[in-house]
């Protein structure tokens, strides 16, 4: 008796079984598709994904202390940082040796500013002490502990040594703790002093303002999208230009336009004074605060809300509304129970897009936000370019990126990345 598959197996011209031949051509097709994608994928992976990945490692990387003060770190291992006793002579000696090496390599300011992120004053302590410690001769085995404390009495402080020991680990959670207003101490994670707690507030403000902006965009975008979807093609195409033109206009042009509109001597204030609603002396403060940021960003992000809403509403047949009304629904019921549920996907797509774009905004808050209208991005930029606390910047960036990627994932689940449309 012949095997079923043998009996009925089909073959292509050169004698290979059809199944095998099909599998081979499928594999070939897959390989060709991958070969087309590969150059770009590699390019994006190397110049985009990898840099962001390595940036994220900076948020936990803390090898600097161990590299510059290797002997001190080793010697401090036996010391109890929770007690109130100073480290022994041995630790002081190793520290001075390390310190002199660091001065020779010009690394002592680096370690000073690293520890200064945790306790202010460390940077100047290291800088000032360096001038004296530089010339010391260590060969005579004279006691060094007292000598160092004489240079600066901060060296006689248990806390100074506790800070060095606490931050000597190669991988630290310190930056992430700082990012949520906590600090790494010998006694575990503790809250920062009240006056240094700014970042959690900033995160909350960023989320709150992004939500407000998203809400404003829904409120302003929905009627416009509805109008565009229900007008004749000719008119709606003309009106769509009014939506697309801001979309295509440079972000900086729009931001400077809002600066022109909102400033104290700006168009809106001038107009209100001219009409007489406000007096010359009581011009409105509508820029360099949260209000300015919300207005300008709502304007900038509104097209990103209108376009997805419009493309969803375009697919809702107008006959549904008429059917609802002919069955006795009032205008409101017909809208709320029949039309609105069908337009929810558009609202969802637009909202997630606007929210994702809003929480990462930097330029507009920087220009029209003043001090209380800035976002977490502005803080990251500050730590990168001014305070040079790159570890903290990376930790803040990692948290922000986490939120954005979560929303991106949700967006992909709900809308699908393939369905993103432009223009």
């Amino acid at each position: 008796m012949l095997d079923y598959s043998e009996k009925y197996s089909m073959e292509v011209a050169d004698g290979t079984p059809l199944k095998k031949s099909l599998a081979r051509s499928l594999r070939k097709e897959k390989l060709r598709a991958l070969a087309l994608i590969a150059p770009l994928l590699i390019f994006v992976l190397v110049t985009f994904v990898l840099p962001i990945g390595t940036m994220l490692t900076r948020s936990i990387d803390n090898s600097i202390v161990e590299e510059i003060l290797p002997r001190t770190v080793l010697a401090l291992e036996d010391w109890n940082e929770k007690g109130d006793e100073l480290p022994n002579e041995m630790v002081f000696r190793s520290f001075v040796e390390d310190f002199q090496d660091a001065i020779a390599d010009k690394n002592h300011t680096k370690i000073g500013s690293r520890l200064n992120y945790e306790v202010s004053g460390m940077s100047s302590l290291f800088r000032k002490s360096a001038r004296k410690v530089k010339k010391w001769d260590l060969t005579d085995n004279a006691p060094i502990k007292q000598k160092l404390i004489e240079v600066n009495k901060a060296w006689g402080d248990v806390e100074t040594w506790a800070v060095i020991k606490t931050h000597s680990v190669a991988l630290t959670n310190g930056y992430f703790l700082n990012a949520v207003d906590m600090q790494r101490t010998p006694f575990g994670a503790q809250a920062q002093p009240e006056n240094k707690q700014v970042l959690v507030k900033l995160f909350i403000r960023t989320l709150k303002m992004s939500l407000i902006i998203t809400g404003m965009c829904i409120l302003l975008g929905y009627p416009v999208a509805w109008l565009l979807a229900n007008l004749s093609n000719r008119t709606s195409n003309l009106l769509l230009i009014l939506v697309l033109l801001p979309f295509w206009t440079s972000l900086l042009v729009r931001t400077s336009a809002w600066k022109v509109m909102l400033q104290n001597q700006g168009v809106i204030n001038d107009l209100l004074v001219w009409i007489g609603l406000i007096t010359e002396g009581s011009r409105l403060e509508i820029i360099n605060n949260q209000f300015g940021t919300i207005v300008a960003m709502t304007h900038i992000l509104l097209p990103f809300m209108i376009l997805p809403m419009y493309s969803v509403m375009k697919t809702i047949p107008p006959s549904y509304l008429r059917a609802a009304k002919s069955l006795g629904a009032t205008n409101w019921t017909a809208f709320w129970r029949v039309y609105f549920p069908q337009s929810v996907p558009g609202i969802g797509a637009g909202s997630i897009l606007v929210f994702i774009l809003a929480i990462g905004y930097y330029i507009t808050p920087e220009i029209v936000g003043g001090t209380d209208g800035i976002f977490i991005s502005n803080r990251i930029a500050y730590h990168i370019s001014s305070s040079l606390n790159w570890g903290l910047a990376s930790a803040l960036g990692a948290i922000l990126l986490g939120v954005v990627l979560l929303l991106y994932w949700v967006y992909d689940k709900i809308v699908g990345i393939d369905n993103v449309k432009l223009g």
Binding site: F48, Q263, D418, G423
Partner: protein, 407 residues
């Protein structure tokens, strides 16, 4: 037979909205001149009188327009200048049109006949709200245009500008942009040149790689399609400040390597860094537009071409490319504007030699407020209008080519 009954009583009730509008206008006008009560009553009274005369006595649209223009125009001329007379003529046309629109019930003409009056009111209120939102969208852009011709170094309208006097306007900010002024240092022009070097190169890279990858992605069997797509779109989603931070560290290492090991000069390395960074940022746009074009692509065309003896390269350039070209070009334009408009990344990884136009604008907005920004803004608005029209035309052409009805 007239459909609208125009007895004096009903005309009076009909004139209510006109009187209200007149009163509001009068109040605003009075407020400006410090005479609120007078403005209010005069506005209401004049509009009632004119309504009764035009719609009740004259009943003739053209004649009403002529009389009203003469009336308002003279008032404008007498009260101030020629410019305000033009304003009053426009106001007059709108006013008379409004009178006849209301009294002859023209507002119901395009609506379903069974709508109740509250539904009609809602219809127009809704239009009004939408109009206000459109105004919100477009005003900031329009305000910038006239201000860029300001003769003063201010960011606001001067009284001369509002009176439309020629002395209030000048091209000095444009001259500053072009470096033609004595005190200008050519910074803007240099920034513009940098933008014009960086953006096209970045666009070229993203379009070339992006189109190939989009064609690959649109094949029927691609392993891990979703994941690859997510990675390729991510530069659009990841906040710019995070991309910029990551690239800052990466490109400074790469720059050092290129300068010291390969030995390329510092300036060229600066451009390479910025171009590569901008190319990555433009890629999602190319991928999205080209895959959208490929959705409707008829695969049998490539098979037909292969059947007729063309190899895959000929097929690509002679059959596939012409059909997806509109998508490729609009993707390219998106990539171009992304690079041309980008400021965060270039500030982080570029050096002073690569200062682009947006960077210069950003500095101008944050530090020394210079109205030249508005001249640049106007030029950029004109540029975006040009790009927008190109993209729209291409989209329609593409839809026509693919046999969809153009929308």
């Amino acid at each position: 037979m007239m459909l609208v009954n125009s007895t004096p009583e009903s005309l009076l009730t009909k004139s209510v909205p006109i009187v209200v509008a007149g009163a509001i206008f009068g109040t605003v006008y009075g407020q400006v001149n410090g005479l609120v009560i007078l403005g209010f009553s005069a506005g209401a009274f004049v509009s009632l009188l004119l309504t009764l005369f035009y719609a009740g006595v004259l009943k003739q649209k053209f004649l009403s327009h002529v009389i009203n223009i003469a009336l308002f125009g003279t008032f404008g001329l007498l009260s101030s200048s020629l410019h305000s007379a033009i304003f009053y003529v426009i106001l007059s046309i709108a006013f008379v049109w409004f009178i006849f629109w209301v009294t002859e019930a023209k507002y119901r003409a395009n609506l379903l006949p069974y709508l109740s009056s509250s539904q009609v009111a809602w219809h127009y209120l809704f239009r009004l709200i939408c109009g206000a939102i459109f105004l919100f969208l477009i005003t900031p852009i329009l305000v910038v245009l006239p201000l860029s011709f300001n003769a003063q170094d201010f960011f606001t309208f001067t009284p001369e500008m509002l009176r439309f006097e020629p002395e209030g306007y000048s091209l000095k900010h444009y001259r500053d942009f072009l470096g033609l002024r004595v005190d200008s240092n050519g910074e803007w022009l240099r920034a513009f040149q940098n933008s014009l070097i960086i953006a096209p190169l970045a666009t070229l890279i993203s379009v070339t790689f992006g189109t190939l990858a989009a064609i690959g992605l649109s094949q029927s069997h691609v392993p891990m399609r979703r994941a690859i797509m997510a990675i390729l779109i991510s530069p659009m989603i990841v906040p710019l400040i995070i991309s910029a931070t990551g690239m800052f560290f990466f490109y400074s290492d790469m720059g050092n390597f290129l300068e010291e090991t390969v030995g390329i000069n510092k300036n060229a390395v600066g451009y390479i860094k910025v171009v590569l960074a901008h190319a990555v940022l433009g890629i999602p746009f190319v991928i999205i537009t080209v895959t959208a074009t490929l959705v409707g692509f008829d695969r049998s065309l490539t098979r037909a071409s292969a059947n007729l003896g063309a190899n895959s390269i000929t097929t690509f350039f002679r059959v596939q490319m012409p059909l997806i070209l509109p998508g490729v070009i609009s993707g390219g334009l998106f990539a171009f504007i992304t690079s041309f408009d980008e400021v965060v990344v270039v500030m982080f990884i570029g050096s002073a030699g690569q200062k682009t136009l947006p960077w210069q604008m950003f500095l101008g907005l944050r530090e020394q407020i210079s109205p030249t920004i508005l001249a640049v803004a106007t030029i950029l608005v004109v540029l975006s209008i040009a790009l927008l029209s190109t993209v729209e035309l291409l989209r329609r052409r593409s839809e026509r080519l693919r046999g969809m009805s153009p929308s």
